[in-house]
């Protein structure tokens, strides 16, 4: 498969050339999520077991009898990706102790969408993180249940119109603020938590590589643009991801042993959110007042994050 022209000239040491998520899957054009999964696989390498929750990524990559996966992959149900990943990790530990497999690092990875992480999968994820399994969990957050047809989730941002939170005369769509999942994971005191976006591929890959090296649980929250659900042109995926970061709506940072660090990609001065909001159909109904209200909140949240970056220290 021809991935990039002159790959060996530009990026041989930056990115693993081998594709572990093959092409020909059924994702929509412009899907940011499948791009993120592909980059994640490149960063993880072959010695990986992936436990996936139900969702777009499970459906588009695994329609029987075909599969896009070139690493071991297991899918059980919607609510339990983290629990299944815990089981795989424990099973591998047992095999290792019995001497049935070589004593090498096999990274167990759980992956789920925002619904499978923040809503129904929260309990299993919280348990897995608390128990301290040697696993990575990646949430591919496209801010609604896209697989079943754009229903709201607790990852849906304020003001977005979805099929179960439709905007109309009375309602402005989603009426609650997005759940800050990365902070919830930080509160579990896991060694490594990061937010990432495939619009910044090298940053994302570095974060996955870092999480892979961590002994113990780690969590990456990946912002994945969904042109179908967000009602935006499919060629805008990368630029929308960048815009979300540059406006501070989805700041990129990592938390290592409690120490916050902003990613180098974060701009010194944030751009106004209006441009981001005006480019998506799901926010089309929002007026100046609503956008101003959201802008205030984004500013406050970002300031809170900067304070954490300044003040909090690592515990080891």
């Amino acid at each position: 498969m021809n991935i990039v022209e002159n790959f060996d000239l530009f990026a041989p040491r930056l990115i693993n050339k081998k594709e572990l998520l093959s092409g020909g899957h059924r994702a929509c054009s412009g899907c940011g999520e499948v791009l993120a999964v592909r980059l994640m696989c490149k960063a993880l390498g072959e010695n990986t077991v992936i436990a996936s929750a139900t969702g777009c990524m499970e459906i588009v990559t695994s329609m029987y009898p075909t599969t896009a996966w070139e690493v071991p992959w297991i899918h059980v149900a919607f609510e339990n990706a983290a629990a299944v990943a815990s089981g795989v990790e424990a099973g591998l530990k047992a095999l290792r102790r019995k001497g049935k497999i070589a004593d090498c690092d096999i990274k167990v990875v759980g992956m789920a969408g925002d619904g499978g992480t923040m809503d129904i999968g929260m309990q299993a994820l919280s348990g897995a993180m608390e128990r301290g399994h040697d696993m990575l969990f990646v949430c591919f957050d496209n801010e609604a249940y896209m697989n079943t047809g754009i229903q709201r989730s607790s990852g849906t941002p304020m003001g977005a119109s979805t099929t179960t939170a439709p905007a109309g005369k009375v309602s402005m769509g989603q009426k609650t603020w997005k759940k800050n999942m990365a902070e919830i994971m930080v509160a579990h005191n896991v060694p490594y938590v990061a937010t990432a976006c495939p619009s910044y591929p090298l940053d994302f890959i570095r974060k996955v590589e870092k999480a892979k090296k961590v002994k113990g649980p780690s969590y990456i929250h990946c912002f994945s643009v969904c042109p179908t659900g967000w009602r935006c042109p499919s060629d805008q995926t990368i630029s929308l991801g960048r815009l979300a970061v540059e406006t501070g709506i989805f700041p990129l940072y990592e938390v290592e042993n409690g120490k916050y660090k902003l990613s180098a990609e974060m701009p010194k001065k944030l751009r106004p959110i209006k441009e981001y909001y005006k480019s998506q159909g799901r926010y089309r109904h929002l007026g100046e007042d609503e956008i101003k209200m959201i802008q205030d909140r984004v500013n406050k949240e970002y300031k809170k994050l900067l304070n954490k970056v300044q003040c909090l220290e690592a515990w080891s």
Partner: protein
């Protein structure tokens, strides 16, 4: 009354709202999403209506338990894997004697299966499904008009017997469109003494499913069982289609019954006298009516979109009374009337 063209999922939602359902909790799962979406859009237009999209199916069923305890008419819906998650709540509802309607738009299974129509949840629905000695009333509608009528009846029945009622349809019923007439709902009869309403003058109310004393628990079980006996005696529904002169009868429900009707038309055109017995209530199963039919017909074929679940109920009813054959297509395959007609033609030749 005007006929309205609507899809099955929307019909269930509209019928529920018209029947006075004022709280609905749902969670996305294909193929019942349209029901949740319809509720999201329309529940807010009725006075006092509340829609909540929960964080999981387990939360949805327990939310309706809470709302049901306050005396509100409640409904939740899901599809096969989601209904499995709801089972603990359904068992609790039966134990606490709380009314409520649960819609199951079945899809292929086991596990997550697929999103095509199937009838593999018959055992789960009719045998209780959750733990403990309990039953749920189960309706198996076969037309969109029935979806509308039975949804309204389900609320009345749930109130009358203070028990959960399940509507067991499949993905095909949920997705297809037919014209319907919504009947006028009956006024609600539900005693205030079962409603939790905050502090009042009377005694405090107490709702529980945990009864530690074995004798008390046994008494509770027998009380429920007496209630189920009354339901079995009074609430069975069925349809007989061209059984007057039939020499061979298909037993099928839901979408399978629709296919059977198509097959019967073909077979009758070729001179084969075939009829249909369609249970409308799957629990209580219309045993006596089916057994009565075996007085004049000796050859039956059970047709299901599963590997044979209602077959067991038919065997319990007809074993020793008649010959029972079976044809099934599980896993989300929807057979054609022509296929079923071929199968029946083969059996028809061999009948006594």
């Amino acid at each position: 009354m005007n006929k309205i063209l609507m899809s099955g999922n929307n019909i269930i939602a509209e019928a529920a709202i018209r029947a006075g359902c004022r709280f609905y909790a749902g969670y996305p799962i294909t193929p019942q999403n349209e029901l949740t979406e319809y509720m999201a859009e329309h529940m807010r237009n009725v006075p006092g209506g509340v829609f909540i999209q929960s964080e999981s199916e387990i939360a949805a069923i327990h939310m309706i338990i809470g709302a049901s305890a306050t005396g509100t008419r409640v409904m939740t819906s899901s599809s096969s894997p989601g209904i499995s998650l709801k089972q603990e709540g359904i068992s609790s509802m039966a134990a606490c004697e709380l009314p409520g309607v649960i819609v199951n738009i079945m899809r292929g299974g086991p596990g997550l299966g697929n999103i095509r129509p199937a009838q593999g949840d018959y055992f789960q629905a009719t045998r209780g499904g959750g733990h403990g000695d309990y039953r749920t009333i189960v309706y198996g509608p076969a037309t969109c008009q029935e979806l509308a009528d039975l949804t309204m009846d389900a609320f009345d029945l749930a109130d009358k017997y203070r028990t959960p009622v399940m509507i067991l349809a499949d993905g095909m019923m949920g997705q297809m469109m037919e014209p319907v007439i919504f009947k006028k709902p009956k006024p609600r009869k539900y005693s205030e003494k079962f409603m939790l309403k905050g502090a009042g003058a009377g005694k405090s109310k107490f709702i529980r499913g945990l009864i530690l004393d074995a004798i008390e628990m046994e008494e509770h079980n027998w009380k429920l069982e007496r209630k189920y006996k009354i339901i079995v005696d009074n609430e069975t529904l069925h349809e007989e289609h061209r059984t007057d002169d039939a020499e061979f009868v298909i037993v099928a429900y839901g979408t399978a019954a629709r296919i059977a009707k198509g097959a019967i038309k073909r077979l009758r055109d070729n001179g084969m006298k075939v009829g249909l017995f369609r249970p409308i209530t799957l629990w209580p199963f219309p045993e006596l009516k089916l057994r009565a039919l075996s007085g004049k017909v000796k050859n039956f074929l059970v047709f299901e979109m599963s590997t044979g679940q209602m077959l067991e109920d038919v065997r319990l009813t007809l074993q020793g009374y008649a010959n029972i054959e079976f044809h099934g297509r599980p896993g989300g395959v929807v057979p054609t009337p022509a296929e079923l007609a071929n199968v029946i033609a083969r059996h028809y030749d061999k009948k006594d």
